[in-house]
Symmetry: D2
Subunit: 343 residues, 4 copies
Amino acid sequence: MNFTSDNAYGAAPEILAALADGATGTAAPYGEDAFTGRVTRALSEIFEREVAVFPVVTGTAANALSLATVSPPYGAIFCHAESHIMVDECAAPEFFSGGARLVHLEGAHGKITPGAVESALAHYRGGVHSPKPAAISITQSTERGTVYRPEEIRALSEGAKRERMALHMDGARFANALTYLNCAAADITWKAGVDVLSFGASKNGALCAEAVVFFDPALVRDFEYRRKRAGHLLSKMRFVSAQIEAYLAEDRWLKWAALANTKAQRLAATLRGIPNVELAHPVEANEIFALLPTPLLENMRAAGVQFYDWATVEDGRTLVRFVLSFLTPEEDIERFSLILRKQ
Amino acid sequence: MNFTSDNAYGAAPEILAALADGATGTAAPYGEDAFTGRVTRALSEIFEREVAVFPVVTGTAANALSLATVSPPYGAIFCHAESHIMVDECAAPEFFSGGARLVHLEGAHGKITPGAVESALAHYRGGVHSPKPAAISITQSTERGTVYRPEEIRALSEGAKRERMALHMDGARFANALTYLNCAAADITWKAGVDVLSFGASKNGALCAEAVVFFDPALVRDFEYRRKRAGHLLSKMRFVSAQIEAYLAEDRWLKWAALANTKAQRLAATLRGIPNVELAHPVEANEIFALLPTPLLENMRAAGVQFYDWATVEDGRTLVRFVLSFLTPEEDIERFSLILRKQ
Amino acid sequence: MNFTSDNAYGAAPEILAALADGATGTAAPYGEDAFTGRVTRALSEIFEREVAVFPVVTGTAANALSLATVSPPYGAIFCHAESHIMVDECAAPEFFSGGARLVHLEGAHGKITPGAVESALAHYRGGVHSPKPAAISITQSTERGTVYRPEEIRALSEGAKRERMALHMDGARFANALTYLNCAAADITWKAGVDVLSFGASKNGALCAEAVVFFDPALVRDFEYRRKRAGHLLSKMRFVSAQIEAYLAEDRWLKWAALANTKAQRLAATLRGIPNVELAHPVEANEIFALLPTPLLENMRAAGVQFYDWATVEDGRTLVRFVLSFLTPEEDIERFSLILRKQ
Amino acid sequence: MNFTSDNAYGAAPEILAALADGATGTAAPYGEDAFTGRVTRALSEIFEREVAVFPVVTGTAANALSLATVSPPYGAIFCHAESHIMVDECAAPEFFSGGARLVHLEGAHGKITPGAVESALAHYRGGVHSPKPAAISITQSTERGTVYRPEEIRALSEGAKRERMALHMDGARFANALTYLNCAAADITWKAGVDVLSFGASKNGALCAEAVVFFDPALVRDFEYRRKRAGHLLSKMRFVSAQIEAYLAEDRWLKWAALANTKAQRLAATLRGIPNVELAHPVEANEIFALLPTPLLENMRAAGVQFYDWATVEDGRTLVRFVLSFLTPEEDIERFSLILRKQ
């Protein structure tokens, strides 16, 4: 019963099949293949405008390359204190950008607000003594399993534009957010002011495939040079693009995300009914954050339920995280629910 | 008829099968999986000593991460003027190391010699005014399809040790070299003084899999931090390790390389028999460099033979490169040979 | 009446005289001159052990070069949220180190505590997902004009050693702290566990002179390469060393700092007697932080008193900073005191 | 008798006097002082157009900051194989730019030609596999004591513009070149297509003062952020600007350079008359490169003549360098000439 992360699961058969298809015959190397072209067209349709698309193999690469493109080495990037770029990527944005600084903001439910950005900016307007405000980065869905509404994104984007900053979205779980909102992909990206998106697939059925999507071609600049010199331009790039192509085909990405979200809702419903258990945040995507008492946690572990501790809370309860994948076996959720209900 | 590069070909079915195997069930993410452990053991056996192994997805990442580990930001790295790190990786070593300098040396048949290193070193012994000599990097097999002999490597290594430099080997086509020499893998690596090896698989049947192999554990230092912050630690690392595991199993890597070498020998034999055609270098691995007259090149192109021009030579002939893969169809070689013999 | 900063003042005549002395004749360039050697000997005496000394022209260079020497590019450096390296150096430590992260800690009176470091460390022990703990940096005297006691430094150093981190001290106002404590220079540096010190002179009478002082020769590594490639090895290095030599001679540095501290005490005493004015921190060095009501601030400005606003406080008062230099004219303090007493 | 370098000499009394003048009273720190403004106006007059001026303390800083401004981290910078940025600055351009590559070109008399640039460019037009052509850097006067003519600079600039590259000039000895050509400063800079100039003063009488001069304001971008985060924005910037102000006043810079050049001519004339001695390059500025036989070199050294060996030449003679400063004592030249004539 593995609820540690959606990346603990393997790959969807449809994606493996696409790899096998892609494996035959020769193809132009280094992204000049037909697969990559088709992915760009597919994403242009999804986003209802022409976009520039660059496949990479990790979310860290997608984020760090995006941020290095929109921030100079002496830039400041504003993000949530718990964002993946801040706490899980070993200072990759600092490395790729050549020394930019991440400025972390607190915010309820994993979200940052225009007010928090504004307060932080006050310390970054003193001229050359501080790094130059360069970008805001938000995560959709957030690191706490919540989802930014279009108007929340737009408000952040307006603040960004006023300060001539770019708006980046870490969409490692973009499909989960989109499914939840049930709106158009454009509504929470370029129409809301997002300049560049890390479009994730690895956590939702792919082996290793993310795409950097630029909505403003002028921002792309020399992204390809950056990707190449970071060792992220694969000679057989078609194998990354083939994953994304299969991921997008037949709306699989949305169906899989919807399935993961539904499973999360199911488990959340169970948790809500357990005494002394409390959900810490609205469950909007495929992640659940809940406060659980120590004895329950011990029982769960003894029964083989895997998950991550997030923090110890003062009343003796622990904040823990459960992540659901469309590949999470139904029976695992059932067994886990039984354990919970036995309390 | 694609002779442009071994990376123009796809992936071996055995490797795809391993991916499918790896895709089921859950696994610890970020390289904590069982696959990665098994690859380390397999390579330790192959190299007849305990080695530290770090899978990555590109040769550029393998090379740049290796070099950044053995060179400080103010280091000088000595390599052949035509080495991949010098001409094909968009200054990735400079990026990963934080500004080290590649010092390029001329050398016949794609090889550097201790004498060439020594001459260059003369300019790098003036103290802080020049970058500090940090490493020698050689390519095995070389960018001209030749193969360093164990004693050639040892001689370079002795020079490196005297200057307290590390010796790195770019083994994108390591299997092809090893097959040609018919010696033990240890003989051309740590026994000959190599400290760290970029062990390639992508050009020889994998989708995207290389392994950085450290022979001296003390050199590893914080390699894992470097890989992570470069976005090269995949969450589903098992899919890279699974490729390498399948690649090494049943001596496939050697058999495939031997097949590619044999195909190169066959084509080279044909070329030797064509008037006004000349082989530029000994054909020892799976690459052929030959001087061909313009009319022949035009016929070849018209007939659909694909290859890379390397340089224009003064007598009207062009130096071109042909690369053979174990996946190159026999019939392509046959058809190409017929075209050649018709001259 | 300039109380904005000690760097608003010029240079001491004794230091200018030393420059004129140094200007005649030829000298070996790039730090091979006799002046630099003499400075090393003088500081070795002051610190009662052999130290390695590297003069530079700015505190930012001293700090960033020191930190880059003790932190890898993937390192985490723990410091106060208001430290100069955090808020006044435009991410220079990030640049020089190649991407290390500054982790900022809150702490009363400008000081960090072992507890604050320990709490922050909890987020940096998760292996490669976070930068590797590399160093603690403290400022002596602090950015709030207070002074770390030897035992406070020792406690931080013990925490650093346990985690294999280095301890750096930004001593832009080291002389002011030392004078206040009236102890040996060794007591608040290497005897308390400090590994490397940015020893300031520019704020205390020099034109542009700081010295990086390493107490542990093993930590020096290739500092000289770093200084050179950062453009901080002057061809006529003697002119920086000459400033430091004159600064140290006849205990000038201590006398000047004592004078600045005394002036600060005098002004602080006056401020303590003014209604509705409150000192925010103990005045221990040459800086005063005080809460002043708006009408008083307006009178002060109208009368030509220059100073920096630090923050607006809720009760209508503003936190402002006054810095005293040994060069601050006595009559300026008198005039300012009169203005204050008129309230 | 020191002919090793112009930086072996001290500072001119006029410059020291300016420092003493600048030392009194308070001034806005970090370049907001009146001195820096005056220097910008003085240089704008000299160059007959409005220029942006940024004082720094070393030529390495001036060059590396300039190049980092005009080259992205993935850029290629074309320069002479013996240029200061290539051989004397410990890879500072690589550091400041974040990994750009210096591509070194051979060329007679220390000069590069449009043809040499064009040949090198052929290897840098393959797209993302190579760094992107970003800049040409030339030295005026060159590292071999020769001087680019306006039309030579213009020809290089045209090639640069065609490739969208910037043209940087390392003018560590700009005054010596200008004096020799006896033309307007504009003629060999912006009118000939130079975009940014490292304007030197340290080798010609200052203690530590260079100015980065941008002719195209659009290129300046965030130069000030770069200077600050490199630790090259001095708090008491006025002491650097004061040096430059005094250097420019009353045409001192040109008079001093003319004097140095004249001294070089005098010594060159003597050398021309000595048997078995040969000048290696035209003597156009204040450096002389000559081939001298071993016995003569031994006599010279025995007599206390200091100079640098440049290279050993096959016929038993050694290429050596003599540099003249306006501060080189006349009697030293006389004594040296006597030694030479005694051969």
